[in-house]
């Protein structure tokens, strides 16, 4: 499959690297050239040498999205460091470019929940961390009686 990852911070770059290693076509869009170095580092060899694609550009720019291959993408992951950017570009990918599967990383649990209700697939690392902390601190049964 063709995976487009927008925003290659820790999460985006690790996901892109895993997908490339698993044999998928992977394109990464990020405004910061440093994130290309992060991909090289994660992969242990130059990103392009194993077929990875990388585009420098702003996520909201149509030209950048097109150059990164949004029109051919099967899966679109919005993982920039901004919740609002992720929510907007995920909706663009879904509604304008008809990408089959769109996932947005949203740090704010309440907005992640509301947009999920509206039909957008959201992953909320904060909610996951809260659940894990709760289990760790309070145990599986919740607060002790």
């Amino acid at each position: 499959m063709f995976l487009l990852v927008v925003g290659a911070g820790r999460v985006g770059s690790a996901l892109a690297t895993r997908a490339l290693r698993a044999g998928h076509t992977v394109s990464v869009l990020d405004e910061d050239p440093l994130s290309h170095e992060r991909l090289d580092m994660e992969l242990g060899e130059p990103w392009e040498s194993v077929g990875g694609r990388f585009t420098i550009g702003t996520a909201l720019e149509m030209d950048a999205l097109r150059e990164a291959g949004v029109e051919e993408a099967d899966v679109f992951v919005a993982s920039t460091n901004g919740d609002n950017t992720n929510l907007v570009i995920a909706q663009l990918a879904h509604r304008r470019f008809n990408v089959g599967k769109v996932v947005a990383r949203i740090l704010d649990p309440r907005r992640a929940a509301w947009y999920a209700e509206q039909g957008l697939e959201t992953i909320c690392p904060t909610a996951i961390a809260i659940d894990q902390l709760e289990r760790s601190v309070l145990g599986d049964d919740g607060p002790a009686g």
């Binding site: 909201l60 901004g82 609002n84 950017t85 309440r110 907005r111």
Partner: protein, 226 residues
């Protein structure tokens, strides 16, 4: 009628807007995410400004979005403005929203997601410049997307098909109407069927969206004829 207005963003636009609205007797809450900016604005607006990120639901709820008549999102960030208006409209069912669009290239995103009206100062200035430079040809005077109606202004080119013809003889598409002719000597007037359109005239046309190209053909000097 006094409205309850929430203004997201206390930059120059938000602050001035809030002051004007308050002067007109409306109730206003401005939301500002930057602590230092908030403290500055708070000296003047006092309780009418609250500290917080307007893209967070609880901040909107604390500001009383459930009773807001109007939400205006004028931060410097288009994604934020888009999201604030989307949430206001679709989650809290606020009747009216107005979004500021900083980069005119983002206007299409606002449109796609149903966030209207979106106002772009850059776009407005661009249109004013176009108005000063007739060689651009067509000027949008008014767009009413909801009503599916536009008003445009065109300058009649020297060798345009329309030049020298009467209104009755013009080949105007259905759904369009010339409502006024502005002539350098003599000012503007409402044309009759036998009014002759002259090169150099400015014509104001009401039309259905989508007819622009067909109409422009009548009034500009086509490249092949230059």
């Amino acid at each position: 009628m006094a409205l309850y207005v929430i203004v997201a963003g206390a930059g120059k636009v938000g602050w001035n807007l809030a002051r004007e609205l308050i002067d007109k007797g409306h109730e206003v809450t401005v939301l500002e995410a930057d602590r230092r900016r908030y403290l500055t604005v708070e000296q003047e607006l006092e309780h009418a400004v609250q500290y917080g990120d307007a893209t967070e639901l609880w901040v909107l709820e604390r500001a009383g979005i459930n009773r807001a008549d109007l939400v205006v999102a004028v931060t410097g960030d288009d994604e934020d403005n888009l999201l604030i208006c989307q949430v206001a409209k679709e989650k809290y069912r606020v009747d009216r929203i107005i979004a500021r669009c900083n980069n005119p290239r983002n206007l299409e995103h606002f449109k796609l997601l149903g966030i209207q009206p979106a106002v772009s100062a850059t776009d407005l200035i661009l249109r004013l410049i176009e108005h000063e430079v007739p060689s651009y040809g067509l000027v949008h005077l008014l767009d009413l997307p909801e009503e599916r109606l536009e008003i445009i202004e065109l300058v009649v080119g020297d060798l345009a098909p329309a030049a020298g013809k009467t209104i009755a003889d013009l080949d105007m598409p259905d759904g369009s109407l010339i409502v006024a002719v502005i002539r350098a000597a003599g000012g503007g007037f409402v044309p009759k069927a036998d009014t002759v359109v002259e090169a150099g005239d400015e014509v104001l046309i009401v039309l259905d969206p989508g007819l622009e190209d067909a109409i422009t053909q009548q009034f500009v000097t086509l490249d092949a004829e230059r």
